[in-house]
Structures are given as C-alpha cells and as structure tokens.
Amino acid sequence: MAAKKLRRAQLSQEMCERLSRYQITTCQDFLCLSLLELMKVTGQSYHEVQKLLCKVSRACAPKMQTAYEMKLRKSVNPSSAFLSTTLHSLDRVLHGGVPCGSLTEITSPPGCGKTQFCIMLSVLATLPVSMGGLDGAVIYIDTESAFSAERLIEIAANRFPAYYDSDEKLLCMTRSIHLYRELTCCSVLKRIMSLEEDIILKKVKLVIIDSVASVVRKEFDTKLQGNLAERSNFLNRGASVLKYLAEEFTIPVILTNQITTALSSGPGLRADLVSPADDLSLSEGSSVSGKRDSGYVTAALGNTWSHSVNTRLILQYHDLPTRQPLRVSAAITKMLRVRSSDTNTAS
C-alpha cells in the first residue's frame, strides 16, 4: 500500500509528472511531507493541497469494518480458526489449538523437542479437515538442518496408522511438505518476502520457521555497537511480513526460539527480562539452570521480538523424562501448566 504509485491514487497526469521531478512517486513519499513542503512542490494553494492530501490518503487508507462484521465472518467458518495439536490439555488452554492468523512462538532449552513438535504439526496440517487437520501444504524453513524426513514418516505412521496405511499415502504427505534450507539472515528474509506467491501456488496452510534464534544470534553479536539496532530492524521487518501473510491467508505461522541464560553481570542481556513470565527460573520445579543465582533464564531475541509475536509457548523439562509446556500468551494472559508426555517417543 505504501509503495502505491501516485498515478493510481487518481491524481492528474500533470500533477504526477510535476511531483516526479522532485522524486515523489509513491503515496509514501507524498504523505511524509509537511503541508508547506507540499505547497511548494505542487504549486497549489493551501486548500487545494489539503484536498490532494485527502485524495492520496483515501487511496492508501485501510477499509473500515465494525467489530460485529469481524465476528460474523469468524462464526461463518469456525473450524478454520485453529490447528489442533492433539494434546488435549494444551488445546484446552489454547482454546482450540494453534491459532490461525497470528504468530505463535515455541521456545525451549535445547533438546526439549521444538523440532519434533514442529514436525508433528506439519503432519497434522496435511491431514484432512475431518481428522482435525488443515488439508493443505506446509512450508518449512529450516535454518539448523535439523529436519529429518525419516522422522517425519515415523511420526506419521505411528500416530495415524489407520490413515497412513499405505506407502502411497505417506509419499503423498511428504510431497506436500516443502522444505527450504536457509542459513543466513539475508536469505531467510528473502525467503519470507517471496512466500506470498508460494502460498497461493502450493495451497499452503502452515508456515514453520525453525529456528529464528539460531540464525539471528549467529550473525548479530549484541555486544558490538550498532548490532542491537540492526537485529531489531531485521526482526521487525520479518515479523511484519509474516503477520501480513498470517492474516491475509488466515494460516498459523510458527516460529521457534531459543532460551538464553542472561548472566546477572551483563547489562544488555538483563534488560531482556520484561515480565516474570519470561524469567523461567521463577517457575517452580524448573531445573533448567542448576545454580539459580547465576543468572536469569529467558527467551532469546529481546523484548522487541516479544512484542511482535502473538502467542508464546514455552517448553521445559519438569523432571526427566516428561516434558512440560508452560503457556504464556501475550493475548490471553494466564500462566498455566500443562503436563504432557512427549508423544514422539515410541513409548
């Protein structure tokens, strides 16, 4: 919308030509100028410029809808509002499952099962709607090379033996999961920008990025000056494009993050702690960091990133071998504990 050319904003041809002489070609350039600058550039009187401003604004302003219309639209299609995770207590807490149309973050210490969880959700997304899936393809952006196709088939065959009873069905499922290996921030961002066409072409119903943290933390060292701002910039850009895609196509977008131990002596990292829900060492029964007084344990990528995601799921070890996801959400705020045994182990 911002890059909309002024020609399409229904300004007259000569006005557009005159403005292009000052390098003002898009709505964004036009709206960033003050009234006096616009008067100088367009050569019009004050009132005329105000009328032009209204015209250009109307070309890029969003459409209005009342809350009632939004509710009606949602109630028309209730089943497509969530992707059920098939873990009943988790689904109950999430009011149905992973929400469609917003960003969900899964964060945990290493080895807790984030990638396994993502693989399971990919299988679930390809199932038909009658079995609780989304009946669509999956885009999986892998930055750690942790995705294993064999594991995918193992999970599918073990969880849904009745459905995946033939090799053919398994192959069909694997064909609808599109894996992209991106190893740098730049390529991840480029991939995110090009997702829109892929989603329409391949009828994608789920986007997973595993993991955002590993590629960002590899490239941006926050101790160096200037890197913090660049990192925030990159994350915000990625987040806004992903939000647009999630809302536009009403699909869930899942991102994984890491846990970082913020040593209490470091100034920059300590400020990552913005809410007690982020300080995982506060939660009872946590044995993630053996020495409690050595520092804070929190989700990585800083508080700017925390503002961008809509829902945050934290997986933790309660005591081996069961895993215990703690749910903290930015939207529906209740800290609840859900115990679940890892469904991916053969037991």
Partner: protein, 356 residues
C-alpha cells in the same frame, strides 16, 4: 485588511509574482480587481478571480475571528473552562483503583498513552475502553462510539465479545439494584451486537496507512459524530522498523500527535495510544523505557506505565497535569480488569485519590 500578501494561503508561485510586482497588503489586491490583477502580473482572468476569492475568504475569516466568533483560535476564561471540564464525562475502566488514580477515568479531549511490556494488558485495556465508552448516560457512561486503529494485529473479537457480555450483565445488575425509568429504555439498545457494531476497526499495516488514516479521521468523525474514543493500538510498531532517518520519524510522530490533539479537541473525543518498551543501555545498567524516544514523551497529556513486580501487574500514573503520581495493582480476569487494593499497595501509593 492590512494583512500582508506573504501570509495568504495562495500558491507559492503566485505569491512570488505578487511580491515581485510590489503588492504588499491584501487590501491592495482587492482594490485592483481581477482584470487589473491579471494584466499586471500576467496570469489569466480566471486564476486572478480564484486568488481574489481566497483572499476575500481569508479576510472575512479574520474579521469574524477578531469579533470574537468561533474559529481556529478560541479564547475563553478559565471559569468557562472549569464549567466545561466539570460537566465533561470520563470513560470508566471498571477498575476502580485505576479510575481513581486517573481522576475519574480516561478523560475526553486529552491524549492518554499506555506504555508497557508485552503481555501486560495494554490491548486488553483498550478493548475494555472501546466497550466502556458505549455505556449509556444513565449508568454513568458517555454513550459514545469507538474507533479502533490496530497496527499490530492484536485485536481479538472473541475477547471483545466476552467484555461486552460482562458489561451488559453489569448494567443489568445495576438496573435491578437501583431501578430508574431511563434504565429500562437504555438497556433495550445496549446489547452485545449493538456494542460490536459501534466499534469501527481499521487495520493499518505500515506507517503510511497509519498516516493516511489519521488524515482521514476528521472526515470520518464528522460523519460519525457520536465517536468519543479513538484508540491507536501500537503506535510504536510501524515506526520501529524500516526507519533509517530518525529525524523524519520524529517529524512524522510530532505531526501525528498534533493532528490527534486537534481531533480530540474538535470532536470532544478521548485519544488512547499504546506504546512499547525498549531497552536503554546505560553505562552501568540498562533500564526499560517507553519506546519512540524522548520527544515523543511530550505528545501525550497523561501517561500510564504498566509493569510487573514479581507476578503482580502494576499500573503507574507517570505523567498527568492534575493527578498525583501513584501506583496500583490490577488483575485481568475473564470479565474485565479487576482491581484489588492489596494492603501492601496502599502503603506504597503516595496517595489514593478517594472519590466515589
């Protein structure tokens, strides 16, 4: 009539020509007439006529203003202002402690800014206010409508439905406890569907759409004259990425703030903005401060900061022209923000402004 030519809202090229030809006051222009003007400065007769009409309108506006009529600049005595302020309504938040520290609730014609970390309850409060602004006057509300501009995508219709249902139920309880004749009539139209239909939502995905929407706001409010609340949820989000030119950002934000103040005053609406928190890294320690920089702090009249203390949510009134700085504790329940005046909190507050 003695107004200088350079101050008239004409096109700059025209003004330059008039100055070059030697015209100095508006009266000279009016005396010359369109034909004379067109011959002297070399423009067509139609253009000259247009220019003279603008000049005449301006001068007419000037004399009207000088005579004390309504115009862009208003003057009134402090007594008149006091009377206006006392009859003005507040938008209550259904959290009595929060209403107390605000002096009654969110004030109309002022900009209130809510800053806080993610997950602390800013969007919840905004959705609450969008419902509370519609409470009928006989229950103590302002009976208005709400505009909700969402830049982060955090507006949840299901939550608004919950809040609206709780609000309607609350009003029903009041009507039963203290029945008055207006109550019945008001409750007929105060239903969940009605409440939802009067919340006008706009989803702005970047700062250009936000700027465009704020430019179009006066027109929209003129059409929907009952709007008493404008919420911009997430004024920080669109300005925090893709902005290398910080000077441009400051200028755009200041322009936005000015327009919002004008809109708030002209339409007697409350403007509520939510802001993010950012980390300011100092030499020895780092602190959480509201985002968008120091100069943005001047834009809002009232500033509320929501933060945590262990697992308790707190709200601090950080900046206000009329109330004292104080902190209260609150909770978010299924129905709405529920305040509990924890005994500890009472001793920590500087003063609890008691007004019931």
């Amino acid at each position: 009539m003695q107004r200088e030519v350079g101050t008239l809202p004409l096109a700059p090229a025209l003004r330059a020509r008039l100055a070059a030809a030697g015209f100095q006051t508006a009266q000279e222009l009016l005396d010359t007439g369109p034909c004379g003007l067109s011959k002297e400065i070399g423009i067509s007769r139609e253009e000259a006529l247009e220019a003279l009409q603008v000049v005449r309108q301006e001068c007419h506006g000037d004399t009207a203003r000088a005579a004390g009529g309504s115009g862009a600049t208003r003057k009134c005595t402090a007594l008149e202002l006091l009377e206006e302020e006392q009859t003005q309504g507040f938008i209550i938040t259904f959290c009595s402690a929060l209403d107390n520290i605000l002096g009654g609730g969110v004030q109309l014609t002022k900009i209130t800014e809510i800053c806080g970390a993610p997950g602390v309850g800013k969007t919840q409060l905004c959705m609450q206010l969008a419902v509370d602004v519609q409470i009928p006057e006989c229950f103590g509300g302002v009976a208005g409508e709400a505009v909700f501009i969402d830049t982060e995508g955090s507006f949840m219709v299901d939550r608004v439905v919950d809040i609206a249902a709780a609000c309607v139920q609350h009003c029903h309880l009041i009507a039963e406890a203290q029945p008055e004749e207006d109550h019945g009539k008001a409750l007929e139209t105060f239903s969940v569907e009605n409440i939802l239909s009067h919340i006008y939502c706009f989803r702005c995905r970047d700062y250009t759409e936000l700027l465009a929407q704020v430019y179009l706001l006066p027109e929209f409010l003129a059409e929907h004259s009952k709007v008493r609340l404008v919420v911009i949820d997430g004024i920080a989000f669109p300005f925090r990425h893709d902005f290398e030119d910080l000077a441009l950002r400051t200028r755009l934000l200041n322009g936005l703030a000015q327009q919002l103040i004008i809109t708030a005053n002209e339409h007697r609406a409350a403007v509520v903005l939510t802001n993010q928190m950012t980390t300011r890294i100092g030499q020895s320690q780092s602190t959480l401060v509201p985002a968008l920089g120091e100069s943005w702090g001047h834009a809002a009249t009232v500033r509320l900061i929501f933060h945590w203390d262990n697992t308790q949510r707190l709200a601090t009134l950080y900046k206000s022209p009329s109330q004292k700085e104080s902190t209260i504790a609150y909770e978010i329940t299924v129905q709405f923000h529920h305040c509990w005046l924890h005994v500890l909190m009472e001793t920590r507050c500087h003063s609890i402004f008691c007004r019931f």
